[in-house]
Amino acid sequence: MIRDSVVHFVLVLLFLAVTPASAQIDLTGSWAVRIHEDLEGELLGDYTGLPINDEARARADAYQGAYLSMPDRQCIMFTTHYIVRGPQSLRITSDIDPISGRVVAVGMSGAIDRMPRTIWLDGRPHPSPLARHTAAGFSTGVWQGDTLLVTTTHLAEGVLTRNGVPSSDQATIREYIVRHGDRLTIAMILYDPVYLEEPYLRSQTWVLDPAMQVVPEPCEPTVEVPRAAGEVPHHLPGTNPDLRDVADKYKLPLEGVRGGAATLYPEFRKRARTERPAPAGAR
């Protein structure tokens, strides 16, 4: 009896050994970000490389950095698309069904102001469009070869960049996660009918670093700047004094600094050459 059981067990193991798994590549571990490509949107009024429309530009022009110092704004989580170009290392985990052995979900979390997200791989549908929208959104994934293709809906309104360029709650994401040895690249295509002129691809590469600890940092709001009740830091339309700073500092054409799809392609380089330094009078 015992001998039969052992034989059958070995057969089961052999069967599993020749059965392709639904998840081909192990993504789990600690992945260290390498910020070798300058992050976009770190300076006020710098919208370079962003295919944004006039509505997004107007919202960003009204933004003040002090906005995030309000106690009710300090702990707002960055939305999922921000992780790709935010200075975030990643911790990726997987949830494995103990019976089937299948990976049913991938967890992804960062250290700073990031809502942990779950990427469901069990074939569940996305919820009703009326369901709650969150910073992480609702993500499902399927393996295509060695690439995990992730679709994210139900995103809350957020920012594309730290200088206030907005993203809407109508935005959706298609995201390709691919591992090449100890490199992990995420290429994320953001579709936002409210604030983008065309789909926007962002990509970033991380390096596997088992010694790194990616521990979420708690956020406790506090009064950083005393303000009158109801005061919200902002610029009224046409009053932001900082919008030329980047163009002036780096001698860039102002049109390029203001962003937009047409500025992302090589044709703009020829104009950029002729339009430097930035024209005066925009302030």
Binding site: H8, L14, V18, D38, T48, R183, T185, T205, L264, F268
Partner: protein, 279 residues
């Protein structure tokens, strides 16, 4: 865990000998276990025939990152970004701070920013074709450069270092556990989503050049490893993302990571060749 194993054992015992028989039949039906006819083995398929993704055609650079370092030539000494920087050494910084485009032009080195380690981040277009069944050719209109990716095994002939160096290429096919290569589904290539495989390119024997147009250097010791992935979106857009690692023991403190992106264009209508410019 024990309960799970016991459950599996019980299941297999229920299935009995039939399951074991079916399993063995399944094993014998795998390609590797097929009987082979007597005679010479057919020649292996060419790299072109084995291609898991279609890279050929025209691609335009998508300048979504480092716009101010790429769309214009940054000023001398403008090396560090607002939040991010190439991990260069002190020697590299010293070289960059001595950048002199007029001197480069006079010395016949106007193409220093168009070497392989910088070329894919220069705004421009790629035209990718098969030079022959084992060689992929990438032409650029910006700087009018040509990269040659050889799939033939063995080391390429070593010669004088060039702007584009020598590139050894291979296809990376989807894997299943334990590193075996999965057969490509017949309809995988060209379907919406991730294309079923990547192109790995390792480039060496580079003539010293610039990582950025304003003189941030790389040396002749540079080795660049790239993975080319094609993503086909439902709206008809094809994206090319190149995961790139540049290693240079002389001018980089650590491997330099980038991931430039391109969009496929329907034809060469916007192809606009222009010679190298040091400015």
């Amino acid at each position: 865990m024990r309960a799970g194993i016991a459950l599996m054992v019980t299941d297999i015992r229920r299935a009995g000998v039939f399951t074991a028989f079916a399993f063995i039949v399944g094993l014998s039906a795998t390609p590797g276990a097929q009987g082979r006819a007597v005679g010479p083995a057919p020649p292996p398929a060419s790299a072109k025939a084995r291609s898991p993704l279609d890279l050929t055609g025209y691609w335009v650079a998508y300048v979504n990152k480092e716009w101010r370092f790429r769309m214009v030539t940054p000023a001398k000494g403008d090396i560090v970004g607002a939040f991010g920087a190439i991990p260069i050494t002190r020697d590299a910084r010293r070289v960059a701070e001595a950048w002199d485009p007029a001197r480069d032009t006079a010395a016949g080195e106007a193409c220093k920013a168009y070497g392989a380690a910088g070329l894919m981040r220069i705004p421009g277009r790629l035209h990718i074709t098969w030079q022959d069944d084992e060689t992929l050719r990438v032409d650029t209109d910006a700087g009018m450069q040509t990269r040659i990716f050889r799939f033939t095994s063995g080391s390429p002939a070593s010669g004088q270092a060039t702007w584009q160096g020598e590139s050894a290429a291979r296809w990376i096919l989807p894997t299943i556990p334990r590193g075996r290569v999965a057969p490509l589904p017949a309809n995988a290539k060209g379907a919406i989503g991730a294309q079923p495989g990547s192109l790995e390119v390792v480039t060496r024997n580079l003539r010293p050049g610039y990582l950025r147009r304003n003189g941030v250097p790389y040396s002749e010791q540079t080795v660049m490893t790239e993975y080319w992935d094609v993503l086909k979106e439902p709206d008809g857009t094809d994206w090319l993302v190149i995961t790139t690692t540049i290693e240079d023991p002389r001018y980089l403190q650590m491997p330099y990571q980038t991931s430039p992106a391109f969009k496929r264009e329907p034809d060469g209508a916007k192809w606009d060749p222009s010679p190298c410019s040091a400015e």
